[in-house]
């Protein structure tokens, strides 16, 4: 019987083509969305963790409360000691001290007189220790456009756009005016070692500069301290569960309630708005599936109703020659499942093809301003999809359910059909 139904479905284009096309398109889009999320989310998490939040972030309680103001006076003064303790406690993680501070960059002319001044947001990290991962995590190594990587504690890296805006060249010296951890003024000369283009609008267009942590410590009078310590799993794979174990330990064993200088730890997703975003991303694929189930269901329901009218004679004949109503109804459901399966297979193939293209070539969204979130969430300017396991099966959810539901509802008419008038109906 199944073979018989398959033959009917394949031969009768008006019965199969439109529903298959509907499923095909819906499934392809669902798979594409799954691949998009599968590619963008890990990129976003990795990039945001490397640049800003870490997998685990440790700050002082006071610094975290006023973190938008980057209060240097609330920095962790014994950051290096904390790092040693954490490295012993969590050998599968590496811990990096970073300091964020603001300042005014004074740019001199050829006579040493001030040519221009601009506010900058500085990030100090371990950029010169051989083997440090920070050059890679901060994407400096791969983003260098001109010059070289820092080799001295008082070398800085600036964005290419800043260099162009102020006519700065490699080797030029600039003065960073800031305040020390104690609140006094700080003036420090830095040499421009290199310029970078990150491909992240938030970094490229902003006044961000990168300097070595030791240089910053000397400049800001914070020997051994830092505003934050970032923990990264060595395999670079973030999960909330793993991070929770670490933060629980830190908050239980190192944090002192009510002491604004004692450390407090947060998971990646607890920093900024990551948790909501990650939950949204996790739900997104189900929302997309649900939306396509609903759309396809309505389309296929109507298609089923029209088919029911067109196949009125066929159904009547089948009832007349002794096929039970339940059997006719079930055969319609089997047909719809067949149609769903065919459409889903081809839709999944097309969707995978699009995801592959998105994975290989990406889409440059730098002009859309999307990457400039300003809240610590970083998207790469070129978004890329990824063929994840879900891409192979997620399409089957809307692809099978929608036609089945469509047939389930539209086929109910079979039960309302009166056999008493079949002779008359079949002779018109």
């Amino acid at each position: 019987m199944i073979k018989f139904l398959i033959a009917g479905v394949l031969r009768d284009r008006s019965r199969s083509l439109f529903p298959i096309l509907t499923v095909f398109i819906g499934t392809a889009i669902t798979v594409l969305m799954a691949g998009y999320i599968g590619g963008v989310m890990p990129d976003m998490i990795r990039m945001s963790a490397h640049l800003d939040a870490g997998h685990v972030k440790v700050t002082s309680q006071g610094y975290f409360e006023d973190r938008t103001q980057m209060p240097l006076d609330m920095a962790l003064e014994d950051a290096e000691e904390i790092i040693v303790r954490l490295e012993n406690q969590f050998p599968d993680m590496m811990w990096k001290a970073r300091t964020r501070f603001g300042g005014l960059l004074d740019i001199p002319d050829e006579n040493g007189e001030t040519k221009a001044q601009t506010t900058v947001s500085a990030l100090a990290a371990d950029l010169i220790t051989p083997g440090s991962t920070e050059l890679d995590y901060l994407k400096i190594r791969s983003s260098i456009q001109n010059g070289s990587l820092p080799s001295d504690a008082f070398d800085i890296i600036i964005s290419q756009s800043m260099a162009e805006s102020y006519g700065l060249a490699i080797g030029d010296r600039v003065t960073l005016m800031s305040s020390t951890i104690n609140g006094s003024m700080s003036f420090q000369n830095f040499r421009i070692a290199g310029t970078v283009v990150f491909g992240v609008t938030a970094l490229d267009k902003g006044g961000a500069i990168f300097t070595d942590i030791e240089g910053a410590r000397m400049s800001l009078d914070m020997e051994g301290g830092s505003t934050e310590i970032l923990g990264f799993f060595k395999d670079d794979e973030y999960t909330g569960e793993r991070a929770q174990i670490v933060t629980n330990w830190i908050n239980s064993n190192m944090s002192v309630e009510g002491d604004p200088y004692s450390p407090i730890a947060f998971r990646f997703e607890d920093v900024n708005e990551f948790a909501a975003m990650m939950q949204w991303a996790g739900a997104f694929i189900f929302i997309i599936s649900g939306v396509f189930i609903a759309i396809m269901f309505i389309v296929l329901w109507n298609s089923g109703l029209m088919n029911g009218l067109r196949r009125y004679g066929e159904v009547g004949l089948r009832l007349a020659i002794g096929e039970a109503k339940g059997h006719v109804y079930r055969s319609m459901l089997v047909e719809s499942t067949l149609i769903g399966t065919i459409g889903t297979i081809f839709g999944t193939i097309l969707g995978l093809f699009f995801v592959y293209l998105l994975q290989e070539y990406g889409v440059d969204i730098s002009g859309m301003g999307i990457s400039d979130t300003g809240n610590g969430i970083y998207y790469p300017d070129v978004i890329r999809g990824k063929i994840i396991p879900a891409c192979f099966y997620i399409g089957f959810v809307p692809g099978i359910i929608a036609p089945f539901l469509g047939a389930l509802v539209s086929g109910r008419g079979i039960y309302k059909r009166q056999t008493a008038s079949l002779f008359k109906e079949l002779e018109t």
Binding site: I321, G322, K325, L422, F423, L426, E427
Partner: protein
């Protein structure tokens, strides 16, 4: 008339509500039809021929009275039992053939056998035999759209006969055919009636069909007005 009674109707009444009134389509019909009969229900339009076929074919139930077909009381059957009776024992031939257009001639004939759960080999043999009865072996792989009206009706006959039912109900089977094809169809059915001892019951007002009938039951306004055996 043969000894074994296939159909037995007693005081059969079929009434339909029409607006506020009741239209009585069949009035106290009592008749018996035996195995192997070749019988015509004749009469003008509205005389109740098709309604009687409906009830005998278990597509409808009597309003009162009783109809027994192959030992099954029609009025007592559930929908499922009625479908099973039709599936196992009754073949239908319609005025408009009602072939499934996406299937080949052979597949159309095969369809009732699928419902009976016959094996592939059995189906193949039975379809070949049925197509041979109606002389369409050569056209087994054609689609209905490629057939003439006469050929289509012969496919419909093969479909009705393939499961070798005890009873075939045919409602105006020649209404859409020319004289030559009508005679051909009737000769085919006459031959099957003789060879397989299948009971044929026709509803018709076509004189050409009546010539072939061995018994003619005349209906008028829902009543049997004449029952003659030729």
């Amino acid at each position: 008339m043969t000894e074994v009674k296939l159909i037995h109707a007693h005081d059969l009444v079929k009434a339909y509500p029409v607006a506020d009134r009741e239209f009585v389509a069949l009035k106290n019909i009592s008749l018996e039809i035996g195995k192997g009969e070749f019988t015509g229900l004749v009469g003008p339009s509205g005389s109740g021929k098709t309604t009687l076929l409906n009830v005998i074919g278990s597509l409808d139930i009597p309003s009162s009275g009783s109809v027994t077909v192959l030992d099954s009381k029609i009025e007592a059957l559930t929908h499922k039992q009625a479908a099973q009776l039709r599936n196992l024992h009754i073949g239908f031939i319609f005025q408009t053939y009602n072939l499934l257009p996406v299937y080949t001639v052979a597949e159309n004939v095969e369809f009732p056998l699928l419902l009976l759960g016959k094996s592939t080999d059995e189906r193949k043999d039975m379809v070949a035999e049925a197509l041979e009865w109606v002389g369409l072996t050569e056209k087994a792989e054609m689609r209905p759209a490629q057939l003439s009206g006469g050929e289509s009706q012969r496919v419909a006959i093969a479909r009705a006969m393939v499961k070798k039912p005890a009873l075939v109900l045919a409602d105006e089977p020649t209404a859409n055919l020319d004289a030559k094809n009508s005679h051909h169809i009737l000769q085919t059915m006459e031959k099957l009636n003789a060879e397989l001892d299948t009971t044929f019951l026709f509803a018709t007002h076509d004189e050409k069909v009546m010539q072939y009938m061995k018994r003619i039951i005349s209906l008028e306004d829902g009543e049997v007005v004449k029952d003659e055996i030729k």
